[in-house]
Symmetry: C2
Subunit: 222 residues, 2 copies
Amino acid sequence: MLRHLDEQLRQIKSEILVTGGYVERALEEAISALLNNQPERFNLVFDFEKKINEAHIRIDEMCLEFLASQSPVAKDLRLILAIIKINTDLERMGDQAVNISHNARDYLKNTPIKSLNDISDMTRDVQRMIRDALDAFVMNDSSKAESVLLQDDAVDEAKHRVFREFIAEIQKNPQVTGQALDLILIARNLERLGDHATNIAEDVIFAVTGKDIRHGSKTTDR
Amino acid sequence: MLRHLDEQLRQIKSEILVTGGYVERALEEAISALLNNQPERFNLVFDFEKKINEAHIRIDEMCLEFLASQSPVAKDLRLILAIIKINTDLERMGDQAVNISHNARDYLKNTPIKSLNDISDMTRDVQRMIRDALDAFVMNDSSKAESVLLQDDAVDEAKHRVFREFIAEIQKNPQVTGQALDLILIARNLERLGDHATNIAEDVIFAVTGKDIRHGSKTTDR
């Protein structure tokens, strides 16, 4: 029989996963709207962000209630602290999807400047990081979480590539400055989404193993 | 006589304030290095960020220990949850100061393009938000925290002004694209520092009043 505590934790984890799904959908809609020139899809992003914000508050309340009523220790306490942080990251990921939508909407108002292949590739990499981080969370899989950390460098490199490409574009053709800057900012938003996925992966590793691997600190049990 | 619980909370709060001081110094050094063309000062920013990261891990450990040993409820529990979130914000503010340093170092490698008055003004506004948010935290002052929320719009508007200014600059003179983009990204970093100060203020309001005012939600006691 499940302890009441386990049942509460299961419910909170399930809320996190639902919210993670909203984040994935919000990013997918924002980028599809950009790549397929379908600005009406941005409204879906704003709908998802609203759901994410509601879930953010609800999950925080559930965690507070859990801490107050169960006084968890050890592994359960680590898990609930990880969830509180993951919840914050998910909320900010929703904000980033909205930022992408604003920049993309501006971009689509002007003449497209060139192929968006690099943005599209970068998005796919970031989506994989998010998917893997959430999978690691649901499966308590610290190896999978570690694989997320390894993907972050490629995303950072992709961002630098986009920056260089669009700076060159501006220098060739200054009247596209506004559009190129929109894409540079979108690359920046994507990079930050990757950073949040990394944060989630680090929290999973901490929850599962008790090791704090942030800031390249010596891994210490706690 | 202080309860042991109060003494532990006092110590954790004091660590937060020390860390907040590092964040303020890191930002001050990063911007002074830029405005006074003193790239050697960027090393101080990296030193402060290291201290912030160490404090981040230490404070998290203290909070975990506090939750496990004291099983706080009600106001004490709200405060410790607020501290866990504020600690995360401070760590990311350190990252932003480092980002500013990287962008500013790039900027200083090239010919300066024009007056940096707008960046300087924007920095002063953001510094005030951070100072007020930390003061609100130390004084449990929810009115001061609310005043921080009101300052955020001005910072966002300043960022838009910087964006417009430097886009115009690039269009007039495309060979300054790299430098102008550095300044645009610095304005973006400053805006994010303001967002983190806002997050801290919201957490203070929650800790002090029990009201969750994020996402314009109805204020609900909890």
